[in-house]
């Protein structure tokens, strides 16, 4: 008897718990439905410092029927929380910001998002850089996950003092002429190594990434087939990086380590191949090196690292209002404001013609119009399909390059091992 009673009690408590939950969600729905006639509440998740709070205030002033609540979290937590919410089918916001590499994780979860083409996104497509827009689409181009926010076009940061010590020109235009392509880059690396003993770059990864980004195709095609064995480009990027490693032209600081940061101030290497947002990182790590770091075009073209999209998860009850807001938020006028306030680099090329952009100057980087350098780079980025397993392949190739550098491993064998590891992981998906 006792046991039975206890069991019943337990069941009753569970039942109460369950009904309490469902009651709550019901009442929530009711208030939401009522709200639509008065005030629409939009929850928005972002990461990092976007400055979107300020813009949202502005929007709410003009649209008194909309209330926008922005929640900003740290990069990894933000993406993990979003993944969990979408996977569970509850708890996702009305608007979610997704970083360009992370958007690949959601390729198979198309049904968890609204297709922004259904809201007329085709009409604004021409305002944005084509390669940026393409990443936000499904492989066949019929579905649009998100509207483009900022981007991370890459250029070559270089230490003028190291170039000078090696007897090389230091003016940005002349440096660009001196290093138009990767052969020239290797020659300059030899000169710098010989004259100053310093490596041309501090780290293997950024050199490899720069080459990778200039390839016409990268790891996967639209059918998610692995291309790195069929197409020569990634192997070429790998081989080139290996040759620089073996000649001792590359340093071995891991990205984001304290040594990596210190080296920026000390000027213990010559070039840093990095995106627009790295300007802030350089300034932060090397506060006393103003005028020593300059920026010019990257050899051989440009690439992109970072930048985000704004998506509307299917759970949103107010997709139209959410779309109206994000369309406004990523419009060229607002992108210019984000650039001025927070340094988010615009993905709408019309902004590059604005006077604020044309007359931009950064005293830290020797008075160079860095905005213009990155704007040029942005227009040179290749349209590339990344694929949902992009991060996995990237990780294994970097591992192979690290082994070549640190363990003096045989590069061919490392390449084969990396491909084996990649295939082993792809099998499981």
């Amino acid at each position: 008897m006792m046991k039975k009673r206890a069991l019943m009690l337990l069941l009753a408590v569970v039942f109460m718990f369950a009904t309490a939950c469902s009651n709550q969600s019901q009442s929530e729905n009711e208030s939401k439905d009522k709200g639509s006639s008065e005030k629409v509440k939009l929850n928005m998740w972002v990461f990092g410092s976007t400055g979107y709070e300020k813009l949202a205030e502005e929007y709410m002033k003009d649209h008194p029927n909309v209330e926008i609540k922005i929640q900003s979290t740290q990069f990894d937590d933000h993406h993990n929380a979003l993944f969990t919410a979408l996977s569970a089918g509850s708890g996702a916001p009305d608007i979610a910001m997704i970083e360009v590499n992370n958007i690949e994780r959601y390729r198979e979860a198309q049904d968890r998002f609204y297709n922004l083409y259904d809201f007329g996104a085709k009409n604004i497509k021409d305002k944005y850089l084509d390669w940026k827009w393409r990443i936000g689409e499904s492989a066949d181009g019929s579905f649009l996950f998100g509207l483009p926010t900022d981007i991370g076009p890459t250029a070559m940061f270089y230490r003028a003092d190291v170039f000078e010590a090696a007897g090389l020109p230091t003016d940005p235009a002349e440096v660009a002429k001196l290093i138009p392509d990767w052969n020239a880059y290797a020659e300059v690396a030899a000169t710098i190594k010989e004259k100053t003993g310093k490596p041309i770059a501090d780290n293997v990864e950024l050199v490899y990434n720069a080459l990778r980004d200039q390839a016409p195709v990268q790891y996967f095609n639209e059918k998610e087939e692995l291309l790195i064995e069929k197409e020569p480009y990634i192997k070429q990027a790998y081989d080139y990086t290996v040759s620089l490693i073996q000649k001792g032209y590359l340093g071995s600081n891991g990205l984001w380590t304290p040594e990596w940061g210190n080296a920026m101030e000390k000027g213990s290497y010559a070039t840093l191949l990095a995106p627009a947002w790295m300007q802030g990182v350089v300034k932060g790590n090397a506060p006393n090196s103003a005028g020593k770091w300059l920026i010019t075009n990257m050899p051989g073209g440009a690439g992109n690292w970072g930048g985000s999209y704004l998506t509307i998860p299917k759970e949103s009850k107010h997709p139209q209002e959410a779309y109206d807001f994000i369309q406004w938020l990523v419009a060229p006028e607002q992108q210019l404001k984000s650039f001025k306030d927070m340094g988010l680099f615009p993905s709408a090329p019309s902004v590059y013609d604005a006077p604020e952009f044309k007359d931009y100057k950064d005293e830290y980087f020797g008075g160079v119009n860095t905005a213009q350098v990155f704007a040029e780079a942005a227009q040179k980025v290749k349209t590339v399909y990344m694929g949902k397993n992009y991060g996995l392949v990237q990780g294994e190739i970097i591992k192979a390059l690290t082994n070549v550098q640190k363990k003096k491993a045989d590069p061919e064998k490392e390449w084969e091992e990396a491909i084996k590891r990649i295939k082993r992981q792809l099998e499981r998906q």
Binding site: R5, Y106, G254, T257, K406, Q425, R428
Partner: protein
């Protein structure tokens, strides 16, 4: 609200005896734990057994694949490497650590040491420090560069710099050191508690019989501490099979030198979105822990018998 009243009425009939009322209240009091455990403990555990036989990317449909997940991980050399790594790091991290903890505890227990409570707190501080913070600090100490603190110290003794993050033994020693630092204090506090429960008259009697200090330690302290030692070895074994945060933060990007079982599992689930193989790894780890605990159990039982 209606349902609330209704359910209350059904489970609380009139005329319950006092004894049963007390029992009921007891069950009510403990129910929050069981409810939370059912939701956040039991359900995920059982669900991962189910997931181990499915293919699932976190979204979309699950498909039943039988034992394919197990065959995939069992044929992956990295999986076996991760088991090897876990055991080696576990041994390196806990073996010397338990000996050091015992010595520290005995030292702290001796009459000579002053400010005992200060030391006790100091020993315990590493254990309540956030693992992430510890791992970040150790990453700086065990930097691969020649100027890194550990490498610089080694160079004073003429030892050439070690690649702590990318070499086979460097990575393991660095991670084991982190574990040592974090747990040595915790375990010595437990040993200390055990030491204080050993009756003083045993030592007095031994002294009268002319036993030296090391003889007292070997023939009184260690045998009397046996239950504590068994407990500490049990928890340390299970703990070291679950090493995760240290290699995640210390090792750069899932490298095989520092890949542990839980890290392997984590990579499958949260980096590769392969929840099936991740769950298969979890189930394998579960079995492995059972095997190790059983070995521990029989070993300590035999130790007990031989002691008597």
């Amino acid at each position: 609200m209606v349902s609330h009243n209704h359910t209350n009425a059904t489970v609380r009939p009139k005329g319950l005896s006092d004894k049963k009322k007390t029992a009921l209240a007891g069950y009510l009091f403990i129910s929050p734990f069981f409810l939370l455990f059912a939701i956040f403990g039991a359900f995920p555990m059982l669900f991962s057994f189910y997931l181990a036989f499915q293919k699932w990317n976190g979204f979309g449909e699950m498909t039943f694949v039988g034992v394919k997940n197990f065959s995939l991980i069992f044929t992956d050399p990295l999986f076996w490497k991760s088991i090897y790594n876990t055991i080696v790091i576990g041994l390196l991290g806990t073996g010397p650590q338990l000996i050091a903890a015992l010595i520290l505890a005995v030292a702290l227990n001796s009459a000579m040491v002053k400010f005992k409570s200060v030391f006790r707190v100091a020993y315990f501080v590493p254990n309540v420090t956030s693992i992430v913070a510890v791992a970040i600090v150790f990453t700086v100490l065990f930097s691969e560069q020649e100027a890194g603190l550990v490498n610089a110290t080694l160079s004073l003794f003429g030892i050439s710099p070690v690649s702590w993050q990318t070499s086979e033994w460097g990575a393991k020693i660095a991670i084991a050191t982190m574990i040592f630092w974090r747990w040595v204090g915790y375990n010595s506090i437990i040993f200390l508690a055990g030491l204080q429960s050993i009756p003083k008259d045993l030592y007095e009697a031994a002294e009268i019989d002319g036993a030296k200090k090391w003889q007292q330690f070997l023939f009184i302290t260690v045998p009397m501490l046996k239950p504590i030692i068994v407990f500490v070895v049990f928890t340390a074994t299970i703990g070291s099979l679950q090493i995760f945060a240290e290699p995640l933060i210390f090792g750069s990007g899932f490298r095989e030198e520092s890949m542990t079982i839980v890290l392997y599992l984590w990579r499958e689930a949260f980096s590769n979105n392969a929840f099936g193989t991740a769950s298969a790894t979890a189930v394998s780890l579960f079995l492995l822990i059972i095997v190790f605990t059983t070995i521990n159990f029989f070993a300590s039982n035999r130790l007990d018998k031989s002691g008597k």
